[in-house]
Amino acid sequence: MSKCSIGLLALSSLFLSGAAIAQEKIKVGVTATLEGTYTVLGEDGMRGHQTALNVLGKKIGDKELEFIVASTDATPDSAVRAVRKLIEQDKVQILLSPLSGDEGIAVKNFAKTHPELTFINAASGAQETTYVDPAPNFFRYNMDGAQWQVGLGKYAYEEKKYRKIATVGEDYSFIYTQVFGLVLEFCGAGGQVTNRQWVPLGTKDFASVIAALPDDVDAIYLGLGGADAVNFLNQYQQAGGKAHLMGGSIMIDQTILSSKGNAKNALIGTIAASGQADTWEDPGWQKFVKAYQDAFPPNKRFPSPSLLATNYYDSTMALILALRQVNGDLSNNQAKFREALAKIELDAPNGKIKLDSNRQAIGTNFVTEVVDDGKGALFSKVVKVIPNVNQTLGYDPAVFSKIGLPSRTVPECKKY
């Protein structure tokens, strides 16, 4: 009997201490596309996340952060499923999610059903996520796809003298947003976009798409990512394609530039725009690149962090810094924490980032050109740095709202 009660006592004390430890932890759920077309993007995003933890540490005052990772496949339902699992089963208090455009819209809408939790966007870049009916508990520290294209249209028109271009892109919200940004600026400068082709995410056989590319244009813009981009380039090489290329933000990115095989060489000289540039000389950026390289052995990472690694790094950084400001205080439906998130100004590796009233990032954009480093590795070289890019791309908000939401056909090719 006494044995039994001692046992019970020991057991209950174990539970109690367990509860005590649990109180000192702040649980954060993270999602990344670790399956499907965007696997490589998700993996590098997680590397960026890990780099941030290496640099900043996991301690928040006397509490410690605990991260629980769930995998998605870039479809909105997979993202909602993962987030729901993290909330309901793992009881996370904060979410760092999601990675891809359509996922972002779905998670933002889902965030409204959990007003007591806080969502920090990890890397998704569809415009609609924060522009249309934003959720008060959803914060985005990366720019959207259109902001990431700022500077490209003008550069193509004025420096490269491209007059007519055609676009090929994956058929979903992020690429719509990218093409939106490109078309607004390129057509605003006087250029023409003659043809916009859309292919389903996860297309493997691009041969017919390549055949349908118009040949009376000066350049072809590619808004593809992950496995799709590699497949396209490989088949483009086999078909003997020779056109000038322009690239979207996840097309001209280490996820593609360091893929195996030599099809990627078609990209040398390609102009693009993104929230980062591999060879930027800024000391903050160089320090981040070094931290990323030191965190993983060379065969387990890219030569330089991809846009996804940078975005995950920035959002993890915002999470940790804001939590430290309030000393891990998540009481009163996380009100203090949210206030800190909204006000925080990040000194991120890819330039200063602050949030607007929709909790959407205002940041720095880069126009780049792909160069060969002489040893067969490709990097994006800075051509132009554009600070303070906001979500309305410098347009008056009233004018901007008349353009319409990014879609297959919006915006029209004209000057707004």
């Binding site: 670790l34 399956e35 499907g36 077309t37 696997t39 490589v40 998700g42 993996e43 496949d73 058929d171 082709q197 859309w198 292919v199 389903p200 297309t203 493997k204 056989d205 041969a207 017919s208 798409v209 390549i210 055949a211 349908a212 992950g226 496995a227 590699v230 497949n231 490989n234 088949q235 090489q237 086999q238 078909a239 003997g240 893929s259 195996k260 095989g261 030599n262 099809a263």
Partner: protein, 336 residues
Amino acid sequence: MSRFVERHPAWALVTIIAVAVALWLIFAVWPPGLEEAIGRKRVFLNAVFNGITLGGLYFLVASGFTLIFGLMRNVNLAHGSLYLFGGYVGYAISSSTGSWILGFVVAFILTALVGVLLQVIVFRRMEGQDLRQTMVTIGLSIVFADLMLWACGGDFYQIQTPNWLIGPIELPLVTAIKSSGEPVYLRYPMVRLVIFIASVIIGVAMWLALNRTRIGMIIRAGVDDRDILAATGVRIQLVFVAVFAFGAGLAGIAGVVGGTFQSLSPGEDIRFLLASLVVVIVGGMGSIPGAALGALIIGLAEQLGSVYIPTYAIVVTFLIMVLVLAIRPQGLLARR
């Protein structure tokens, strides 16, 4: 053929007209009105060729699947895993030795060996238990997928096309006439043509082997009635192992082909399993000519769909499957 015309004169007429229209579309120079209505001939021709070559790849995967099903009534849902496994092996061999051809040979042998193991260890233990086999192979395909993810990572691999196959060749098909009166010929990626020709050769060889050789006769007899065949003294288990090995090896070869003109990554196994399921459902379970026809139809539907109705391209494939299931549930070329 003549019996078909006698029995279904209306269908025969429709078929002849369709073939004539298709031939005209391929060989004639398109009048300007037609180009305006449905786009340039180059695009159409490319889509048709791509559909046919993609069909060649689907045929390679699906023929092994249908052969195994036809003889053993095994629904091997780990077939897609064999495809991906063959692809990874082909990548490892061709990137380390630099020989594309050697990649095919080794991929064939290794996936055939995996096939033998599957047959001996798994299928022989549960002969005739369809549901159990299906469940076990689904389980195995998940295990294989995770093992391959563990070994190769989530990265996508591309098997390097040998230099002599890179780039396009000109085909003697006129796509347009320049204003100077000079004809423009169709340029088409060489590697796809070579792969297509190879798959036709494999298909014809398989058909000949099945219909003209002793072992083919045994296999066909086995498809019709296993028990009687076994009673005549044929060592049926040996035949099963051989057929399973060959079918698996074909999937391995297909993996190398797929890795060359598309790419290899986790998830491809499921995609090709699904594709071969659709192909054999359309063509008829267990029939090699059926697999060829099904592969051609699905390949063409995917490619023409992606050009002319890009938004609904994915739906077209399944629409065809639904139609076939509704009208001819046994498949287009099934015997029973």
